[in-house]
């Protein structure tokens, strides 16, 4: 570091130590502000009616006001005290015990009607000097100026002078103040914008049936705020802001050699030993191909290994998801009870990506998760407010980036529509955000519908490039041997290829070769497991194994486990 840079850094540190920040008490707002609200700052909270200005400032005041540092809340014409108290007291942050002492309401209606700003200023000054508050709110400041449209009222204090004196007075009395107003964006040349230390813009956009609220820290003197628009929601607890995570903050952790078992028999082998820890995996397939079954096994395996897991579902209720998992012998409910599994059900149809991210990140911390399952991206896209669907690709990029930065491994499912290979993931062109892609599909073999999968991509890792059969059994998904001797797999309608050259296994029928290949693929297996993996009925498997033993292709140990004596053809 150069001397000049060191000096600048020191100056910044000294200045920052003189500028204390107040915690706003509004979840997410401190992060947007760059650490909190500068103490003794003179702030403007602007926005159209119904955007949540009053609720935001009330929440901040209730979080900070005390008997020692009370708040003076000046109401004007637009916000009668009775109405405000009547509605605001329903919020969780509203503590009636603070009213009258720590928070004092003063109505300026009469002074405002008088039209003389010097009278208004005198009343504010008198109250400030009497109460000696730590916080002052004027709600609404705009209505003090109502009807003026920038014109001066004869004999009154000019607006610019009024604002200057008010700001000076409040700062001198070491007051952190908030002026609320219904301003439009084209009014930013209004003198109050110039004088204010902080300007916060609240807005809401209605698109079809959804409403999206956003806040922007347009200006904060003395500290670097988080740029851009941040979505927020108003609930019974008050405002919650979801800071927009910029891409550059989502630094990925370096990849390790650790692999996570998928819990799907046969899948880890073809993925080079499992999913690389910290990867984002996408499992794409048509409806009914077993995506959720694979995802559930990934969840169950994580829990079995003692890991924390977060599951985000959009298309079914968590209870349904848990019941379905239980039917496949995965009792996930116990894990939710002991705090190792967190189920998130997000389906309000007006979600923002940042809101989703905030909820998922909170859950990741809560259960110390190493695995996150998003089932499915298609459902996620539908759950988003229409305004955000346009930017789904970019939003998903930020979501996955922010999640992988925490070190978790993400398993996402997505639906494929249309015919293969032209079929697209419904969340089109999202494949670039993933490290690993597994694609499932239906194929027709001898008039029967079968399922196959292929590993399309594994970043920085060797993997099988074959089409592998898989079946969904009572116990879950099981990956079988590769589908060989067929052509036209990508069309969905397969044809058996005529034998070319000498057969792989001399003296074996196709059925027998298939069972042997499955055994070679697994390595060693009981008869029952082999029957299941190969999709061959148990009596038929028993007959074939006897023949394989007879021909010297396989051997059974005393425990009944079969081992192949032939090398795999692939």
């Amino acid at each position: 570091m150069t001397t000049r840079k060191r000096i600048i850094k020191k100056r910044v540190a000294v200045a920052a130590s003189n500028l204390k920040s107040l915690q706003t008490g509004v979840p997410g707002f401190d992060a947007v502000l760059g650490g909190g609200l500068p103490e003794f700052s003179f702030n403007l909270i602007a926005g159209s009616p119904g955007t949540g200005k009053t609720t935001l400032v009330q929440q901040m005041v209730f979080a900070n006001a005390t008997i020692e540092r009370p708040a003076l809340y000046f109401t004007v014409l637009g916000e009668p005290t009775i109405k405000m108290l009547r509605y605001q007291r329903h919020f969780g942050f509203f503590d009636p015990a603070l009213v009258g002492g720590a928070i004092q309401y003063v109505n300026l209606g009469e002074e405002a009607l008088d039209g003389d700003l010097s009278v208004v200023l005198a009343r504010i000054v008198a109250e400030v000097e009497r109460v000696k508050p730590g916080f002052v709110v004027v709600d609404s400041f705009r209505s003090l100026m109502a009807g003026r449209d920038g014109r001066e009222v004869e004999g009154s204090l000019p607006i610019e002078h009024f604002i200057q004196r008010l700001a000076l007075h409040l700062t001198t009395w070491e007051v952190t103040s908030f002026l609320l107003g219904e301003y439009s964006e084209r009014e930013q040349r209004n003198p109050v914008f110039t004088v204010a230390d902080g300007v916060f813009w609240l807005s809401q956009v209605t698109d079809r049936n959804s409403v999206v609220r956003k806040v922007q820290a347009v200006k904060i003197r003395g500290q670097a705020q988080m740029p851009g628009l941040h979505t927020f929601r108003i609930t019974d607890s008050g405002l919650q802001i979801f800071p927009r995570i910029p891409e550059q903050q989502s630094q990925r952790r370096p990849q390790t050699a650790v692999r996570l078992a998928t819990g799907v028999p046969g899948l880890d082998e073809v993925m080079g030993g499992g999913v690389p820890a910290g990867d984002a995996v996408m499992l794409a397939g048509p409806a009914g191909s077993g995506k959720t079954t694979f995802a559930t096994q990934f969840v169950a395996e994580g829990l079995r290994q003692g890991e924390g897991v977060v599951v985000v579902v959009f298309e079914e209720y968590p209870e349904e998801y848990l019941a379905r998992a239980k039917a496949r012998s995965h009792d996930l409910e116990k894990s939710t009870e002991v705090g190792r599994l967190k189920m998130l059900y997000l389906r309000p149809l007006d979600l923002s990506v940042d809101e989703t991210l905030a909820e998922v990140l909170e859950a990741v911390v809560e259960v110390d998760a190493t695995r996150v399952v998003i089932d499915s991206l298609s459902g996620f896209e539908v759950a988003l407010a229409p305004a955000f669907r346009k930017d789904f690709r970019e939003s998903l990029y930020r979501l996955v980036g922010a999640l992988t930065a925490t070190g978790v491994t993400i398993f996402m499912t997505t639906e494929i529509v249309g015919s293969y290979p032209a079929g697209r993931f419904t969340t089109e062109k999202v494949s670039f955000i993933t490290d690993d892609i597994i694609v499932q599909r239906f194929v027709e073999i001898d008039g029967e519908l079968r399922t196959v999968l292929a590993i399309h991509k594994m970043r920085g890792s060797k993997h099988s490039r074959e089409f592998l059969t898989y079946s969904i059994t009572d116990q879950g998904a099981v990956v079988g041997p590769p589908l060989r001797h067929y052509k036209g797999i990508t069309t969905g309608v397969l044809e058996l290829m005529p034998p070319s050259g000498p057969p792989g296994y001399v003296g074996l029928t196709d059925h027998e070769s298939h069972l042997l290949e499955t055994l070679v693929h697994i390595g060693s297996s009981s008869r029952a497991m082999l029957s299941e993996r190969a999709g061959v009925p148990l009596p038929e498997a028993k007959r074939i194994l006897q023949r394989l033993e007879l021909l010297g292709y396989a051997v059974a140990d005393p425990a009944g486990n079969w081992t192949p004596l032939a090398k795999p053809a692939w």
């Binding site: 109401t75 009775i82 009213v99 002492g101 309401y105 003063v106 109505n107 009469e110």
Partner: protein, 141 residues
């Protein structure tokens, strides 16, 4: 009598008792209740605004007149809410009847406002400083 009405009445009694207790020169009950009214009017005008409180007072007077007709002889202030004509009423109807009427007006104001924002909030707005009688702000539920 509902809990809200009872707590409104308790607030009236508390304000009157405090007026008598805090000022030794207050040697009659009419004066004590007038001071209580003034205190309530000042505090509520401050927080709700004079026009807002004035409206509330006018409605309270109309309602209370049904049970206390003598209040018809009382006039209200213009912009700044106040009760006028009290001495004449005392002369006409006697002190105890007027005191009862004034207390009834306060009860009505507190009950009406309590219905809108909660009686606990009304107590805090009127008392403002830490209340002398802390049992008033505790919800008996």
């Amino acid at each position: 009598m509902s809990t809200e009405v009872r707590r409104a009445r308790d607030l009236t009694r508390s304000l009157t008792a405090r007026a008598a207790r805090n000022d030794p020169s207050v040697d009659d009950d009419e004066l004590a209740v007038l001071i209580a009214c003034e205190r309530a009017f000042v505090e509520l005008s401050r927080s709700l605004g004079a026009p807002g409180f004035g409206t509330l007072l006018r409605r309270a007077k109309v309602i209370t007149e049904r049970t206390h007709p003598l209040l018809g002889g009382m006039h209200l202030g213009g912009l700044a809410p106040y009760l006028g004509g009290v001495p004449d009423l005392v002369q006409l109807h006697g002190g105890p009847a007027v005191i009862e009427g004034l207390e009834a007006i306060l009860d009505t104001i507190f009950s009406m406002l309590g219905g809108l924002i909660g009686i606990d909030m009304v107590i805090r707005l009127v008392e403002r400083d830490p209340p002398l009688d802390s049992t008033l702000v505790e919800d008996p539920k």
